[in-house]
Subunit: 366 residues, 2 copies
């Protein structure tokens, strides 16, 4: 029977770590005193097993626990439940990494479109892709459409909604879709460009489905979701039902400290179908280190995971003058997202956007 290996970082006194590791193995499997279990199969196959304990250089311990894949079944929510459900309540434990067996990987299956899907959509081969965000929250659709037009005239590959844009009274989803979609189509006709709109979806499964249908009817095949807001089961189902759509994942509500970002935003979002994953770049508004960002990008793209690659999208307070450094750091398989750093240009939004896209184009490879 296949097992999922979960890696935890645990703060603990050295004398307590074995007992602590055993307690977590029980908590994340049978969740009851093992001495009271009489069923032989449960004892041999289902109770979590401590596989390794080692000291971490940074302090504390690294504990590997093998969990029965059968307890997860085919539900992404249940996967998170078995990996970290109750243990998420312990403030001194971090879910650091997960090694998935092949059968679990093929159950979830990863992105439908992946890196190549994004490249095909914008025609960008051998260079980083570009993206900006429609803001601010609170503008009516027409106001957002005006910004979308100015940005598209600057030659972006993708323009996404701010993840705060939902289905609000002052900017209903359907109205925003047509206002921004029309504005970008007009700009493309004027410039000969092929900028694509990435609207933000929200709500429960029925609402998300309806929004995807509205987008598809409008000729849109790229959307933004926030898997930790929607719920991973919901996100995976939406991805499964819409293999022709490229999904960009936003890190809202993904927290910082208790599930390591390379695991959650890189590996798990990808496994559940994220075709691209936004994350806070180092040196921006959030505290990720260069090392965390590097690991996250690698987890999103690595060949050894057996599913389509997911495009890393470093973001969060980025500016045009950081483009060369970011492309050096991430290489060409990346999408750069600059939002506020373009919007501060005001009347010069198109020119500032063009500076961004031209800077990225300089770094063409191959």
């Amino acid at each position: 029977m296949s097992r999922i290996r979960a890696i935890y970082h645990i703060e603990s006194a050295a004398g307590d770590i074995e007992a602590r590791a055993h307690t977590i193995a029980v908590e994340q499997s049978v969740e009851m005193p093992v001495s009271a279990i009489t069923d032989a199969r449960v004892l041999s196959d289902i109770v979590g097993q401590v596989a390794e304990i080692s000291e971490r250089e940074a302090g504390g311990f690294r504990v590997a626990i093998d969990l029965a894949a059968d307890t997860v079944g085919v539900d992404p929510g249940q996967l998170m439940n078995m990996l970290f459900g109750n243990t998420s309540i312990h403030p001194d434990v971090v879910l650091a990494d997960v090694e998935f067996p092949e059968d679990v990987i093929s159950i979830f299956g990863g992105p439908n479109q992946g890196l190549q899907g994004w490249r095909d959509r914008c025609g960008a081969d051998g260079r980083g892709m570009t993206c900006s965000a429609l803001k601010p929250q609170g503008l009516p659709p027409k106001g957002l459409g005006k910004i979308a037009h100015q940005m598209a005239m600057g030659g972006l590959d993708f323009i996404k909604d701010d993840h705060g844009l939902a289905d609000q009274s002052y900017s209903p989803f359907a109205d925003r879709l047509s206002a921004c979609g029309d504005a970008i189509a007009t700009a493309n006709a004027q410039s000969g460009g092929k900028t694509k709109y990435v609207p933000s979806l929200s709500g429960h499964l029925d609402q998300l489905r309806h929004q995807v249908e509205q987008a598809r009817a409008y000729g849109i095949d790229t959307v933004l979701v926030a898997p930790m807001v929607n719920g991973l089961s919901t996100f995976r189902q939406l991805s499964r039902e819409n293999p022709d759509i490229a999904f960009m994942a936003h890190p809202a509500m993904a927290g910082a400290s208790r599930i390591l970002p390379p695991l959650l935003l890189g590996k798990i979002f990808r496994l559940m179908g994220a075709d691209a994953a936004i994350f806070p770049n180092h040196g921006g508004r959030f505290g990720y280190s260069p090392d965390t960002c590097q690991q996250l990008a690698r987890a999103a793209l690595s060949d050894d995971f057996g599913v389509a690659p997911c495009v890393p999208i470093p973001a969060g307070g980025m500016t045009v003058d950081r483009v060369p450094e970011m492309l050096d750091f991430y290489g060409p398989d990346v999408m750069l997202l600059i939002g506020g750093g373009l919007l501060t240009a005001g009347d010069k939004l198109t020119e500032q956007t063009a500076l961004f896209t031209e800077e990225v184009a300089k770094f063409a490879y191959g």
Copy 2:
């Protein structure tokens, strides 16, 4: 226009706190440089406003930020997004509390059944209610049914599934429902009791709906969900569609450190429709303090919130000998949940369960 007041606890140097508070107010509303916003309505109505900053006795600062209710609309996921979406990524900020205006409370509406719904279902007036959990993960339905029968013979009010029981190959939901439902019905017929079964639901909205229908067809009107696994939008929709069902909320994936438990498990779960909320009691397997537990129970039950009360269910490593102390601490409007502490009795499971229910019955009020 109504505003939602979000309270954050922030670690910061005193000289930086004003700028820090302003940054969060912007991040959780327009998420772009305010200087680049030209729309007057966005500036006056939508940009988050810092309302109060004070030092905390425990160190760090308490910052109150007023957010436009219009940005939330009617979606629970979007509420979390606006309260903590991006800021959840800052490890030095905790979402500590939220003051909801009346219009937002009535949009979400809280529990359908609440405290009285649970009391009506079990006939327990003026005393704490009792509950245990079916474990371990990995048993086939028949094995779980046997335990359910033994527990029901001990006179419990409710028997819930372990939250790890999903729709697994070794114990499919439908088979578990009938095995445990039948076992409890048999015990009730033998003992004259009225123990109720609380099956655990999992998956995306369609799957959850199907499971509720299966349960209802079986005469069951109490279910267990994990709102942070399902997603709050999904949970709220399920609650809205099933006003005759009492929902028990499990804290899996609710984390410990970044959204204070009285807010998340007490107030927010209740607002979204939790009729009862399980949480880790102090002195058990998890690290909540007595003060946190007291605040959580108060948030779940308080009159001043304007929606039906939600039953607090302290749990997590509880034992029968703690019953008097727990009832003293929480009073009668509580459901006590003891799982492993009964199961360790092995062959004496019914007797140990009866000890538990008799101990609680001694503390009848009124």
